[in-house]
Symmetry: C3
Subunit: 275 residues, 3 copies
């Protein structure tokens, strides 16, 4: 059996009560949507990346997100110091290895960050396969058209080796700690048509892990994906039953993330256990 | 007696006629909303931060905004040079000390910028209290839950010491030159749910001070806050009288900033004088 | 005779089938709208600017966009290396010389980039006149109020000298290779009220030139401008026939870019030939 929608709703409620501060070191494209996504979930975003202050900020934060999207040399130092500080202070941190495998510089940075022990890694199938293959797991090439399930075996191997949670986004999201695997069936194809939706759900994962605690990181990751996916399903269709365009979908996604109530989540969340 | 809504409407009209160029050195999260806010008010945004060109840009601009949100070492030099140039050319400039007090690097940068003589400083109660305490005013700690009125005495002391206008955002906005204090009653709680709304109203203040002239900086700051607040009030509720979600609120806020007419402002602007 | 709406529709269809990867080195303000514009057209955006990886990214990309909007010293090297690599690999690249002429640093960077041989240059009349005057063409000063037609002779001279396509945005867009000149009559004044719309259409030009091939760069540029302009016309008016505010216009623009079908483009595209 999987997780109940009631558990998703309870964790969201806890997030809104505790208002965790999530420090985000993320790409330029995603900042607006990510900050608004966190606000809609009741969390507080703090976008601070500079090596001169990341240590102080991680001390204040409940969780850290590191996203390598618009990689810059001068940001890489801030990312590493922030991750190191989170580890030292035993605060959860989440890695989003955007386009890992696309260029040597990017792959190298992701490798360095992975060595600092993220609590959760979330990516698409290609990114997770590229990350996994850094450690010796074989890959048959990086192809963004890989379905998430195809990456499940490598995700499990990566999670086991790293001792962390690995989430693979796709039509069905795969979330694993190497032993147990959850499958999240929520979401909508329109998410692919709006930039930074994947980045934003990774920030939500950081918020949810912060309030659930690190022992519940597997479940918290699945709940964050389900919550975001349910909001997307509701936002995708207008009052007349027509699928929206991507512009209005993005607007409604934020509305739904904010307005979703427990009863709606209870019935819509679909988190199963892999057999 | 406070300021009339007619005065708010006249200043907005002047802004639309004169089309002031507002140079913005601001954080990455706020750039899109800030630029669109300025355009809706009839001003022209110019986002230029590089130390290699800020002097030339300040020469072209009618006002400068400096916002330290996503602090970077290599941007700090541009901020200081731009502020220095604005002072030399006697052009108004506005400081937004985002999260001042949160980290030593941030507090230090805000202190350096404050020494360069901003025309207006706008922040929330915590930021203004952190700034004020740098100069010796006592604070009982920085807490973002402070209401704006609690910061009023320190805001007055800061304004008097600096010889500038200080605005504290909150349910009621406090605007003071150290002697006279105005209270702006417009706004809506949904503004807290959308990132960069505070940053954007600070840019509006720069535009309004540019067209009103530095002697009218107190009044211009209050008018900008009232105009933004009225637009927020109108944007917060949909046709059926329901409060919107934050996604559609952000969209409607820009619509209202653009479409607001004088008659609507005349009746809705609420700027009182502190007694 | 000009180009048919059918040809515009066919090129859009090709873009959706081929899904070109467009690498964008662009300003911070434009990233969200630009990425979503490319996604709506069926292209894939990749925002990568770092000198440590631009060579690898250009190898993967079908086309490159360089936009100097928020000029930074440390980005300039990445821009030049990317442009150089595109030239070496004979991949199309498009230059958006934002605010060229406003400051010496900006003009100098645009000059350096122009020397690297862009396939297409798109700007407003002032920017194109500033660029053209760098090479000796006389200008009567840079004034953003110049209509695009006034810049047509200088655009033709610039195109002939550079051996590239030059597009001047305005109420009527002028597109020229120095010999042939096309005029695009689509668009809407609301585009001026939304930041980054000009930047975003330049990215569309890169996508369209990638799928049309460099020999068709003149036509592809005109088709991209027509497609974007038709979407703007449709987005500008609501169901009741009222002109929208800029917030909802921006949302609808993305919807229309995504939902526009061939039949709608066939009848609305207005590309004439200059006589």
């Amino acid at each position: 059996m999987g997780l109940t929608g009631r558990a998703t709703a309870l964790l969201l409620e806890k997030c809104r009560e505790e208002n965790p501060l999530v420090q985000c070191i993320t790409n330029f494209v995603s900042m607006d949507l990510m900050a608004n996504t966190l606000l809609a979930a009741g969390a507080s975003p703090a976008m601070a990346h500079s090596i001169s202050e990341v240590e102080s900020f991680v001390e204040l934060a409940s969780a850290l997100l590191v996203n390598v999207g618009t990689l810059s040399e001068d940001w890489a130092g801030g990312m590493k110091l922030a991750a190191l500080t989170a580890g030292r202070l035993r605060k959860p941190w989440v890695l989003d290895p955007v386009a890992c495998g696309a260029t040597p510089a990017r792959t190298s940075l992701c490798k360095d960050l992975m060595a600092l022990g993220p609590t959760v890694i979330r990516g698409n199938a290609s990114e997770i396969m590229a990350l996994a293959s850094l450690g010796g797991e074989r890959t048959r090439g990086v192809d963004s058209s890989h379905p998430s399930e195809a990456a499940a075996p490598m995700a499990r191997a990566l999670a086991a080796r790293q001792g962390c949670i690995v989430a693979v986004s796709g039509a069905v999201d795969v979330v694993t700690d190497g032993t147990r695997t959850l499958l999240v069936g929520n979401g909508h194809p329109l998410l692919q048509k709006v930039t930074a939706t994947g980045c934003s759900v990774t920030a939500l994962i950081a918020a949810f892990v912060a309030v659930a605690g690190p022992e519940q990181a597997l479940e918290a990751t699945a709940h964050a994906l389900a919550y975001f996916g349910v909001a997307a399903e509701r936002a995708a269709v207008d009052e007349a039953g027509q699928v929206r365009g991507p512009g209005s979908f993005r607007v409604k996604l934020l509305d739904e993330l904010d307005l979703l109530c427990a009863a709606q989540l209870v019935h819509a969340s679909r988190i199963g256990r892999s057999t």
